[in-house]
């Protein structure tokens, strides 16, 4: 029992940044924009959030700055792919590469007086146990003894799901991703929706980075994100573009991580890299299952216009 509780607690803690990034990317992709720059936005969010927290002495300021930086990077992607109709894959990859390089550079000199951030200790988020709820068996410590950014997710995930599934602008968002021609003919501003969705995704990716540098592994080290941005993108597919399932996926990834730590601590012979593979294998299985059934494909498949630029006077 104690094992389950601790694995679950680590899974939630480790999965939080994945949920932020994946939910953001879901919204972006629902509008038909593929942003492979998540890793870059996340790492830039991480470094700027930590720097801002150190400078201001306030971790929350760090979160805001990380979100803004992620949003600005997404804006660049939006401009390149929506307005200039550049290839979304290329632009996203460029964002990831540039973000990684820029983050290392900034890490060298964003400390007080231009000092490197590496090795510095700054403000961070601590677990804030919620009275009574955190005493619940098993789930208590896992869900209710976490930091505020985790608690914020309890609001963000349902809100995003509700927005996408049940509201008027959510309907517009989905239509833009499925058939921009239709949305346009129905008077929806396709570009506006795509810009907003892309920037929203960037803000969440930035916050995801902030959670890493301000809570999960407080401080700044090179390659802090360690490919989590890519995992988040895989999660979007695993979650079949539904924020609720993204949570499940993130817990799975986080859980496997946690189990792997435990097993390593106990000296297992299963190589860690094999364990790490599991969630990816699961993603492939899920995808294969989806594509087998027409009804599922229509309900759970990728937005039909994902990755495609839209031009009103272009024939389709």
């Amino acid at each position: 029992m104690e094992l389950v509780t601790s694995v679950l607690a680590i899974a939630v803690f480790a999965g939080a940044s994945l949920v932020y990034a994946a939910v953001g990317e879901i919204v972006t992709e629902r509008a038909g924009v593929l942003n492979l720059g998540v890793e870059g936005m996340m790492i830039m969010g991480a470094v700027t959030a930590f720097a801002a927290a150190v400078a201001s002495g306030n971790a929350m300021v760090g979160v805001v700055v990380g979100g803004v930086v992620g949003g600005i990077m997404a804006l660049v992607h939006a401009f390149a792919t929506i307005t200039l109709r550049a290839d979304q894959v290329v632009s996203g990859l460029a964002l990831t590469l540039a973000g990684g390089g820029l983050a290392s550079f900034l890490g060298q000199r964003l400390g007080p007086g231009g000092a490197p951030l590496v090795g510095m200790v700054g403000p961070r988020f601590h677990g804030v146990p919620i009275p009574w709820l955190s005493d619940l068996p098993v789930v208590g410590p896992a869900l209710f003894d976490q930091d505020v950014l985790v608690y914020l997710l309890f609001l963000v995930v349902p809100a995003v799901w509700f927005f996408v599934a049940r509201t008027r602008p959510g309907l517009a968002l989905r239509a833009v991703g499925e058939s921009p021609q239709t949305a346009d003919a129905m008077g929806i501003g396709v570009y506006r929706v795509r810009y907003l969705a892309t920037v929203f995704g960037g803000v969440l990716a930035g916050i995801a980075g902030a959670h890493l540098s301000l809570a999960y592994t407080p401080g700044w080290t090179e390659h802090l994100t360690g490919g989590r941005g890519w995992i988040a993108i895989a999660l979007v597919i695993f979650a079949t573009w539904d924020p609720r399932r993204a949570v499940l996926g993130a817990l799975l990834f986080g859980g496997v991580n946690a189990i792997q730590f435990r097993l390593q601590a106990e000296g297992t012979t299963i190589p860690a890299s094999l364990l790490n593979m599991m969630p990816y294998l699961l993603t492939i299985v899920v995808l294969v299952v989806i594509t087998r059934f027409e009804a599922l494909r229509h309900r759970l498949g990728a937005p039909a216009a994902l990755g495609l630029a839209y031009d009103r006077e272009e024939r389709t």
Binding site: T167, E178, Q181, T182, A183, A185, A304, E313
Partner: protein, 524 residues
């Protein structure tokens, strides 16, 4: 024709003046004028590529004109100039358009599609209430649809209803319908005509694009004819007739009947024996079908769409493997063979779905035309392709089949529908003649080859099909138009619920009998 009175609106609903629009290499509209009155059904006619859809897309804000002005009328006969910078602006002006290619989100429900983009919806949608609302309006207009069904599950006829519903839900007073009946069955087309008439009687202005002249003469009040992007004439329908309209469109006399020499059927080339096919949903789509098509014969397939036609053409061309039964081409059992094997034996295919299966829209026309030929010399040189020869090959098809395109390098999607059809037909017929040169007896499976075509193009396509028949090709012709089947076929097989209800000759049957067989109420 005085149509004021009952609805109490006077004058013009909309006036387009001097509209000019060019695309790379094409002048689609050249100073076009169009005036539509309140309460009238105004037909817009013209050959494929004449610029009808372009003109209407300008009115609905999708395209920006290079030149010209748009004026919108009020109820008292006044007119004011407007600029329509976006579809949203058009919607605000009460202009609604049903596009030639449906603008629907396939994964969303009917109700969601209807309210998409409607501004006075609450932030949090009550989709149940919306569904009730939509169902009520649909019933009032006698266009029943299930508001909770996702679009992809609906037939084209039902999708068409959703499109009209969508425009009316937005309060369209000026309604443009771009070939609304092209893909509908005759019954569904009649329903649409009835709806349009009642809308016009309410005082709405309706622009109606169609290639079916019978339909135009029957339901329109006035008609405007375009040719190569220019105005040719505007007149009252009462003052003209079908033949005159056809002539105005094409600029020459059009033969409505083509001389058909008596058939000289040779040996059987294509035979289906006890073919059973289940569709994607596991339902029986073809139920023990036996058919034989002889060289030099046209076998027509009649039936209401969705009764197994698609599966039949797919089985006959190797695109689908039958669950039981055999497919024999020229004496050789090809059951389960690949489409390429069918092709190499001379089976050519004009598919129903032009851009889905017929053409790769983003590729140049030349690549599309060479798709049946690139594996063989002279285009293929070992593993490489000679692009110059490919272009030359494409040019000959473009010329021979009178495909109207800026050139072989234009992306196929930019061609008008009729010209896409001519291009496919040209490619397939050429492929058949190559197979003939290699000693095979060619087969041509043509699904709805004249759908969406103008009268001139239809004449052209039919002449090519008869030419193939005379050359000894076995032709399987699937069509929804009984007139066409009676005119073209040597024998007609009627499909209903995946079964052959009977095979008749045009001489010894009537439209009535065919109708009964199509409905499954008569056997032969």
């Amino acid at each position: 024709m005085s149509r004021t009175g009952s609805h109490g609106r006077r004058g013009l609903a909309v006036a387009l003046r001097g509209i000019t629009k060019s695309f790379p290499g094409v002048l689609a509209n050249d100073h076009v004028d169009l005036e539509v009155r309140w309460g009238e059904i105004h037909a817009l006619l013209g050959e494929n590529g004449a610029g009808k859809s372009t003109l209407m897309s300008i009115l609905s804000g999708l395209y920006q004109p290079d030149e010209g002005e748009i004026l919108v009328g009020d109820d008292e006969g006044g007119l004011r100039p407007v600029t329509i910078t976006s579809p949203r602006a058009a919607i605000h002006l009460g202009i609604g358009m049903v596009h030639q290619h449906f603008k629907l989100v396939p994964t969303q429900t009917v109700a969601e599609n209807v309210i998409l983009g409607v501004e006075d919806m609450p932030f949090v949608l009550d989709l149940d209430a919306v569904a009730r609302d939509v169902a009520e309006i649909a019933d009032r207009l006698r266009m029943p649809v299930d508001p909770t069904a996702p679009i992809w599950q609906l037939s084209v006829g039902e999708q068409q209803r959703v499109e009209i519903l969508k425009a009316l839900y937005r309060g369209a007073e000026i309604l443009v319908l771009d070939e609304p009946t092209a893909v509908l069955t005759p019954q569904e087309a009649d329903e649409v005509a009835a709806i349009l008439r009642s809308l016009a009687a309410e005082g709405k202005a309706i622009v109606f694009i169609s290639h079916k002249l019978d339909e135009v003469v029957e339901i329109a009040d006035r008609v405007t004819v375009l040719r190569k992007g220019r105005n040719v004439a505007t007149m009252d329908v009462a003052d003209t007739d079908k033949h005159r309209l056809a002539e105005l469109m094409v600029g020459r006399e059009v033969a409505t009947t083509i001389p058909k020499p008596p058939a000289e059927p040779g040996p059987t080339v294509l035979a289906l024996e006890g073919v059973v096919v289940r569709n994607e949903r596991g339902l029986v789509a073809l139920d023990h079908v036996d058919l034989e098509v002889a060289a030099g014969e046209i076998l027509g397939i009649a039936g209401v769409a969705g009764n197994g036609q698609r599966e039949l053409t797919e089985v006959a061309t190797g695109l689908r493997r039958p669950d039981a039964g055999r497919v024999v081409v020229d004496g050789k059992d090809l059951t389960g063979a690949s489409p390429v094997a069918f092709l190499d034996r001379g089976v050519a295919h004009v598919p129903a779905d032009r851009l889905g299966r017929g053409l790769a829209g983003n590729l140049p026309l030349a690549d599309n035309l060479a798709m049946r030929a690139y594996r063989h010399p002279p285009i293929a040189v070992g593993p490489a392709i000679r692009r110059d020869r490919m272009r030359a090959f494409a040019e000959t098809i473009i010329e021979r089949f009178r495909v109207d395109a800026p050139g072989p390098d234009t992306p196929a999607r930019n061609l008008s529908g009729g010209n896409q059809q001519k291009a496919i037909l040209g490619r397939e017929i050429t492929a058949g003649s190559w197979a003939a040169a290699r000693g095979h007896r060619p087969v041509l499976v043509a699904a709805y080859p004249t759908r969406g075509l103008d009268v001139g193009a239809i004449e052209h396509v039919r002449a090519r099909l008869l030419e193939q028949r005379a050359a000894g090709t076995a032709v399987l012709l699937v069509s929804e138009e009984l007139d066409e089947l009676l005119m073209m076929s040597d024998r007609i097989a009627v499909l209903h619920g995946g079964r052959i209800m009977g095979v008749v000759t045009p001489e010894e049957t009537t439209i009535e009998e065919l109708g009964l067989m199509m409905a499954g109420e008569a056997h032969r």
